[in-house]
């Protein structure tokens, strides 16, 4: 009995979607830590665990073994000691993405991530000695590839408490209206096509028609570019409507941790 494939020939390998290389270790993570509790066990410093999903691939130049030119046998063995360029992939997490995540937890304090545990005075000395560290470069290749980093708010000095406050959840977090325009690289994201925006008047869409409007506006999935199975997704979840309704900065409750 012969099998008839009604779909016609399909070459799966040709249609395979490119996939990024991910770390082989299942628990490849970067620990983002709070420096204010040095007496605690290090495991308790960890505020956030984010997976190492970013990578850099560098190609090392051909390695040539050290040879002594006076050695008569050197030329004979050169071909054996020269290796082809080998790509090396290092994994980590995008630096600014991790710093922004810590910015939220530190109740909207801008800071930097360093792999060492420093006291406040040591951090002040570090910043004075490394002024460029305050403004790290941007780019997809800017990774944190060490297993552990500590988040230091830039204004964390000896006048401040070591255990800087941590905001515990979204509904106690206040949107940084005053600072958003200065947050790198978020402050660069609003620079759309200003001419096009000026020509386009924001349409008034009834709430009941918003979902359909969005599907027709975007036409395709913003990520996969699929046109099938489209849904309209909330960016700020609809369950957070009262958070959106809240008056800006009407009160701020910060929850800190005991020392």
């Amino acid at each position: 009995m012969s099998h008839i494939d009604l779909r016609g020939p399909v070459n799966i390998s040709d249609n395979a979607t490119p996939r990024l290389v991910m770390p082989r270790r299942r628990k490849a993570v970067v620990e983002l830590c709070h420096p204010g509790y040095p007496r605690r066990p290090p495991i308790l410093h960890v505020m956030l665990l984010l997976p190492q999903v970013d990578s850099n691939t560098t190609t090392t130049p051909p390695a040539v073994a050290h040879t002594d030119l006076n050695d008569a046998t050197a030329n004979l063995t050169l071909s054996d000691t020269t290796t082809a360029p080998t790509p090396h992939t290092s994994f980590g997490i995008h630096r600014n993405t991790a710093a922004t995540a810590c910015f939220f937890l530190a109740a909207n304090r801008i800071g930097i991530l360093l792999p060492s545990l420093l006291t406040q005075s040591e951090f002040s000395v570090y910043v004075e000695a490394n002024p460029d560290a305050v403004n790290p470069p941007l780019g997809l290749d800017q990774l944190l590839s060490e297993p552990r980093y500590y988040f230091y708010p830039l204004d964390w000095d000896t006048d401040d408490t070591p255990d800087y406050p941590v905001c515990p959840d979204f509904r106690r977090w206040g949107f940084p209206h005053e600072h958003f325009a200065t947050l790198v690289p978020w402050n660069l994201t609003g620079d759309g096509d200003s001419d096009a925006e000026a020509d386009n008047v924001e349409p008034i869409v009834a709430t009941s028609a918003v979902s359909q409007f969005v599907k027709e506006r975007d036409r395709r999935c913003k990520i996969s570019d699929y046109a099938d199975g489209l849904e309209s997704a909330h960016t700020v979840p609809k369950e957070e409507a009262d958070w959106v309704c809240a008056l800006p900065s009407n009160y701020v409750i910060i929850i800190a941790l005991w020392r």
Binding site: V53, F104, P168, V210, V214, C221, I223, D242, V252, A256
Partner: protein, 241 residues
């Protein structure tokens, strides 16, 4: 936040239902998005948004991580994407909070300093939130502002702080805003709280002009917050005061 929405005059029922807050996603990616599996963040000097995964998944992560999303900021407010990133991050720090003590600190507008109000155990705080969530589901009629909701008592803020989004299905159509702030529909706003709003409205007509009858949600939220703060004698950190 609602200032960043487009349809301010139409989306009062739920300001998140706004074209600046919505984007089209394939169904399976939408489901992953609502489970905080990935977010949209800018990663370069060019202001472009990229997909960033907060969890490693077998297929989506290797395929879509670091994929540039073309012209996302032209259809979605970056402020909403920023808030979404925060929304996705906070639950990841729950373990750190749970195993710690919590010191509730409030801003004293008079002294200009943060002041500690109360200390509680982190695990206890989250447990009380969970208990309060069950309680509020069992007795939805008790959500009025006349209850002794205190910001210094963790479990008592559950009507506002409970994260129903952690558990609710992505397609639930409940009018969450009205459900959590029943004061408007049930008329349980206390006269004292209402008079406080009216007094502030008169004293600061410009700043309070948006608190009008056609913004019942904002009015209700303001009344709730005013009353809580008044009871606790907590100085409000409002730009208008």
């Amino acid at each position: 936040m609602s200032a960043y929405a487009s349809n301010k005059q139409i989306s009062d029922s739920n300001p998140t239902t706004d074209i600046d807050n919505l984007l089209a996603l394939r169904k399976d990616l939408h489901s992953a998005f609502d489970k905080r599996v990935f977010v949209f963040v800018p990663k370069t000097n060019f202001g472009a948004f990229y997909v960033h995964f907060l969890a490693r998944t077998p297929d989506f992560c290797p395929i879509y991580h670091n994929r540039e999303v073309a012209a996302l900021s032209s259809v979605i407010s970056p402020q909403f994407l920023f808030a979404r990133f925060a929304w996705a991050i906070f639950p990841l720090a729950k373990a750190f909070i749970k195993r710690s003590g919590i010191r509730i600190t409030t801003w004293n507008n008079i002294s200009g300093k943060w002041e500690a109000q109360q200390s509680v155990d982190g695990l206890q705080w989250f447990n009380q939130l969970a208990q309060g969530r069950v309680k509020s589901r069992q007795k939805p009629e008790d959500n009025g502002v006349d209850e002794p909701h205190g910001l210094d008592a963790p479990g008592e803020r559950t009507q506002n702080i409970e994260d129903s989004a952690y558990h609710s299905p992505p397609n639930s159509q409940a009018p969450q805003c009205a459900a959590r702030i029943p004061t408007t529909t049930k008329g349980t706003i206390s006269p004292e709280a209402l008079s406080e709003v009216i007094r502030l409205s008169c004293a600061h007509p410009t700043a309070m002009s948006h608190l009008s009858a056609h913004h019942p949600l904002e009015l209700a939220a303001a009344v709730t917050q005013f009353e809580k703060l008044r009871k606790l004698n907590i100085a409000m950190r409002m730009p208008l005061l």
